[in-house]
Symmetry: C6
Subunit: 76 residues, 6 copies
């Protein structure tokens, strides 16, 4: 991971921004295991054109969205 802070806060203005942060968290989980961006791009068709892989990706986002939503007290 880069020296630049990529996750300064879990607080967002809106649920949608929270969802986008959940997507970012999910991608950082992938990058922390495979930091080679070129390799990740090559793998893209393996999951982006596979229905089950997309469902799995959506699941990771859903788990991270639980965290972000709780952090923001559900934007109530």
């Amino acid at each position: 991971m880069s020296d630049q802070p990529w996750l300064p806060t879990l607080i967002t203005s809106t649920p949608q921004e929270g969802y986008e942060l959940a997507i970012k968290l999910s991608r950082m989980g992938v990058k922390s295991t495979q930091p080679n961006v070129e390799l990740l791009k090559k793998m893209r068709p393996d999951y982006a054109e596979n229905a089950d892989s997309l469902t799995k990706a959506s699941q990771v986002i859903a788990i991270n969205f639980q965290t972000v939503a709780a952090a923001n007290n559900y934007w109530r």
Copy 2:
């Protein structure tokens, strides 16, 4: 994702509307990884006619429904 806000709030009037929002969140998770709608339609038989894929889809909805239900204080 489009410029139009698609997730203005997690609050819904009824549990059922909350469940429908959970379905929407699950689909947005897929679309965020594969935005090509034509490709998604082509993949549809891959999961919509496969029992395990349907169970996995139901699982993502269940996780998102946990978030929406908590946001709505379970519509108590």
Copy 3:
């Protein structure tokens, strides 16, 4: 999903009724992706006679039961 409300409330009288609601939620997750009931029936042997598929189905019920149990304050 039909026009009839199928999820008017998450509140149940007993834990067991809550568990049955969790089963219902899990099935609605499947139906929301594949509304064709005839097709779902045809797929039944694919998962109902496969140990791993049954475990996966039990997992979705477990996730939904978490939601229903929290909604009912665990019937304490």
Copy 4:
């Protein structure tokens, strides 16, 4: 499921009894999808002798144990 109530309460005396209840909940999730006990027995070697299947079974128990533990306020 039988007419006899099998889940009268989520409250248990000890964490270990709570864990046993989590096992029971996991099995009822399987039985709710496949009520034929003879068929379930025949499938037993498919998962009881497969490492990944055992891990998956342990995961469902872990999810149900979260629910039971929360219901019991973690037996604190």
Copy 5:
């Protein structure tokens, strides 16, 4: 499971002991489905030398650690 209580409490002195309890809970989930220890030993290479199986095992531990950490109020 043996007559000896193996889970007297979810409370631990430190986060690390809590993590070790989460490992124990994950293993008991496996043993509750397959109590034959000799068979479990034979299966060991099936998962201990398979990257995805190790990830799955780590996931079950993570779920159990959520429970143990909450029980201990996160050792705050």
Copy 6:
């Protein structure tokens, strides 16, 4: 696991450090099942070059991040 404490606390200064702790927890879950570091290194291409394996790894991190984030009261 070594005699050195590797998990003295779940508290971190920032969300990003919390995320890094979640990565560490996920790896310790793998190591607790397969402590042989040489073997783990050999397996690395099996998952680090496989899209679904990377998604699964990201999921375990997401689950552990839920725990760490709650422990830190979401760094609010």
